[in-house]
Amino acid sequence: MTPATVAGHKYEFDAAIVEAALNRVDPEPIHEHYVVVRGRRFPPKQVLAIMTGLDRADFTTHQARAILRRLGFGVHRRSQAAGGPGAPSGPGFGESGIDEHVGRWVAQVGAEVIYAADNPESVTKWLRRHGKRARVWRVPDSPGAAGSALSSP
């Protein structure tokens, strides 16, 4: 357990409990900072709000990042290289973590995956709920899905 004080309240956090709590939670759009929980990216304040039940105005992104980092989660800042809506991905694509999403349906803006799900309908629904525009596709998991009969050497 990891103790922390947020907005004057004392909490004991546990990484496994955080993971379980986020199982059925849809990540909100990332603005600048994000935390990776079981391969999905969440805004740190969304996660801490769920963990504490507090209003997001009661704590800062810095506090949320610090607590989540102490719990062992990867806390990152969004890449400045991300392109605009519908922008194609190019060299440097690997930095988006696309390999984490192989076989899944994703919403991608520039090089960045902003949402992933098991079907295209969930992805388009999420985009419209959050007013986002993105490339929607299933990240190929085999040369066959990429339209190639070539095998690896």
């Binding site: 194609p88 060299p91 390999d99 388009t124 985009l127 525009r133 490339r135 190929p140 085999s142 690896s152």
Partner: protein
Amino acid sequence: MIVAYTELPEAAGAWPRPLLDVAFGDVEDVFVPCLVDTGAVQTLVPQWVASDCGADLDHAREVNFGVGGASTRARLAIVRLAAAGQIWEAEVGFCQPWPYSWGLLGHASFFRYFTVTFRAADAEFELVPIHR
């Protein structure tokens, strides 16, 4: 317009592909990546795209195509396409099943509207609209 090739995950062979993001119908928030495929005649996409863009397939002509070594059933409809700053209407086949992670842009509904130059050495292609 110059478009960088899309790099793929290692699991898919990693070799980058010339993919172009296309919006179908009146949808402006969902872009479907499509392979700029000089070997294709028709423009074909998976059927979920028809549901998403509201394409009317009730009276669509149905045709079988061989794609990726398998057979697929396409329902053909005229829809609006938007890509590379251009908007045009063309026939698109909405297919089920669909083996690829992207759609295919073919000669009948795509190449007749653009001059396309591939520069594989630079991992990019250039699109110039044809205005007639």
